[in-house]
């Protein structure tokens, strides 16, 4: 099976003055195409550091990292930016949308940096918004959207460039239960269509929507297991008490 991510002995050491902080102490990890992995662990366990390295925002101190077979560990800043643009989609806890910029333009953002034509950009961005169920809200500004909707715009932005993997850092951290499940539903739907997803979370509940759970502690993987009693978001939503349908703020 194709490996999207293949990391060997990843080590990350931060130097703060005289201290050395060992954030990652030799991580071996491979994620196959179409995988849906949740990484759990207490804060300070190194999961964010791993996410930064896997997301090409940072480079490992030692070790080897192959993304779709391409060795990332020794690339320079510009090449990393290109990889982020073409192969990685980020979803953040705090959404990180550009304010005073419409949903459509937020989704277009990655396409601005790979010289796409305007027509193509708008087409792709509309399609991505459609995939996350935000048709008709293209020209809304983030501050006119609910938290769930904002996160869906962010997911659309992560999707728009057909990335090899979507990296989501606590995507439900700022959302209520129902909206969290809605977001996970989108991830599950996207995953079913073949997109590889890696979610970082410290909520066990959320991790149960993934296919595979990895637990971190002190910069090491302590548990790596297949989720047996996997939750299906669609069913969960049906069992939740009916609430008012989400209104535009």
């Amino acid at each position: 099976m194709d490996q999207v991510i293949s990391a060997e002995h990843l080590v990350k050491i931060y130097t703060l003055g005289d201290y050395e902080i060992h954030a990652l102490r030799g991580i071996d990890l491979s994620i196959e195409k179409g995988g849906f992995v949740a990484i759990m662990g207490p804060s300070g366990s190194g999961k964010s550091t791993l996410m930064h390295i896997l997301g090409c925002l940072d480079r490992p101190t030692r070790g080897k990292y192959l993304l779709e077979g391409e060795d990332i560990s020794s690339l320079d800043r510009n090449s990393l930016a290109r990889i982020r643009n073409q192969k990685i989609g980020f979803v953040f806890q705090s959404f990180n949308l550009l304010s005073r910029t419409t949903a459509l333009e937020n989704v277009e953002l990655p396409l601005l940096y790979n010289n796409s034509y305007s027509k193509e950009r708008i087409e792709k961005a509309k399609k991505a918004l459609c995939l996350v169920g935000l048709e008709g809200r293209e020209n809304h500004y983030p501050n006119k959207l609910s938290g769930g909707q904002q996160q869906r715009v962010a997911i659309a932005r992560a999707l728009v460039n057909d990335p090899a993997i979507i990296l989501a850092d606590e995507p439900t951290g700022n959302l209520d239960t129902r909206t969290s499940i809605e977001v996970m539903e989108i991830f599950q739907t996207l995953n079913e269509s073949g997109i590889t997803i890696l979610v970082i979370t410290h909520e066990k509940d959320i991790a149960m929507y993934a296919k595979r759970n990895i637990t971190f502690r002190d910069g090491k993987i302590v548990k790596d297991e297949i989720v047996h009693a996997r939750k299906i978001a669609k069913d969960e939503l049906l069992s939740l008490p009916e609430t008012e349908p989400e209104e535009d703020a």
């Binding site: 800043r77 643009n85 990180n96 790979n114």
Partner: protein
Amino acid sequence: MRYFQIFRVAYKALGRNKMRSSLTMLGIIIGVGAVIAMVGIGEGAKKMINTQIASLGENLLTIFPGSHMAGGAHSGAGTMTTLTEDDALALRTECPAVSKVSPVVRSGGQVVAGNLNWGTSIEGYSPEFLSIRSWSMASGTFFTDQDVKGATKVCVLGETVVANLFPGQDPVGEIIRIKKLPFRVIGVLSPKGQNAFGRDQDDMIVAPYTTVQKKLLGVTYVNYLIASAVNRSQMDAAIDQITELLRRRHRILPGQDDDFTVRSQLEIATAASSTSKIMGLLLGVVASISLIVGGIGIMNIMLVSVTERTREIGIRMAVGAKGKDILIQFLVESIVLSLIGGIVGIMLGALSSKLISTIFHWPIFTSVSAIALSFFFAGFVGVFFGFYPARKASLLDPIEALRYE
């Protein structure tokens, strides 16, 4: 990123902080406006001085006879009577760098027309007077070589003389009496106003020099000569040729002093134009300083903007913006700020120049080159002062930038 997109993003970013953007631009607007207006004033002054000098006569040379020495005391230049009509004729034929020559014979006295009279100067010239002194006729005609040959009693009046002798009338064809002799008025000179020394140049009567010599003064010498060089670059050659010729004609031995002096308009012109050049330079420097201050304002605001938008920079980098993309984005913002400021500044500068010239009657000359120069200078200020903040933005670490609150 495509160019159009870069400008669109910059435009939107600036539009988000309209107040701040316009205040930042104000620095550039005032700077460019000041440069345009100040350079305009400098250019205008230069032009005015040039036209004043040109009004004395194009490439004018004046040949005075030497000073008279009596008992060791030098009288002023022109008190001797060593120059003659023949000298003038010789200059005209033998000096290739000299295009026109006119003897000058000056007299003065009371002039009567009907029941009015006016004391003025009567100056005798050859018909070349008009072109040597860059003068023109308001009405009638100037006298001819025939009049000079025949020493006819015709004259041409200056504006001031007309105003005093023929108020509200056309004097052409009338008879006036100069020292009891009747002269026929054949023309009126166009008004020229005061010369650089405050003398009213229109208060005179011009007649053929032979007439002044024979009919009014009864002399054979001339007071001095005026001449035109072929062109400005031939002035020095003309002076040399005149000196050489007159020394030969006056039989002055080598080692002896000249008995005449040749003066050119060029000396005055050079002094005046270098003064106005220095003035223009000073004004330009002062105005440029305000443009630089405006540039510092841009740098200040761009630095604030980079800090404020750290998170935006992080987001852009996370989705694939290279350092270069961020650099260009912020650089273009500062260039757009300074260029819009430049355009408004040019309009403001042109407008205030117009205002100053109308209110204070100063000649202001707004040149296209000054406009183009200050526009490019504004653009340069944008690049120069925008580069540091933009570079700072481009070097941000995406992880740190995303964490920034």
